[in-house]
Symmetry: C2
Subunit: 90 residues, 2 copies
């Protein structure tokens, strides 16, 4: 069987982008963020924003679309984590 | 100020890779995975494995190193989630 490297790349991008959807749904539904790391979502959301800027620089639609979707999902999860950290724990 | 697109790309890769370290540390320390999505970590770990295979296909060291690190971190978090789901909840 001959699998094209591009196909593996698209599959990789689809899986890592789509993976944040079930986490965002779980977080929005349960509002529970106890076992989520604030540092992780802060660094990750900033990183995805950098990927988005990088995609805009390169005018690469695939990078822009994948990271725009991931940014919305990661920023939603981060918002819940910040809200819970600020208003629920102190 | 003139920022090179490559610098933004490296910063993006460093941030999204490094972000999984505080999550892995938190999960290993607390063993709490209640608010982590099993679907997210399953899809994400598979996706990172595809990125790793893609990097090997392209002989691209940056893709290989970043995704090898992320794979170890994501697989560790996934292992705790699977253990808790199988042995703690049923």
């Amino acid at each position: 069987m001959n699998i094209s490297p591009d196909l593996i790349g698209y599959l990789a991008a689809a899986l890592t982008t789509a993976s944040f959807l079930p986490q965002a749904i779980l977080t929005i539904k349960t509002k529970d963020t106890d076992s989520l790391s604030l540092s992780m979502y802060t660094l990750f959301t900033l990183g995805v924003l950098c990927w988005l800027i990088y995609g805009v620089y390169l005018s690469n639609k695939a990078i822009i679309i994948a990271n725009a979707i991931t940014f919305i999902l990661a920023a939603s999860i981060l918002s819940f984590k910040i809200y819970n950290t600020v208003f629920k724990k102190n």
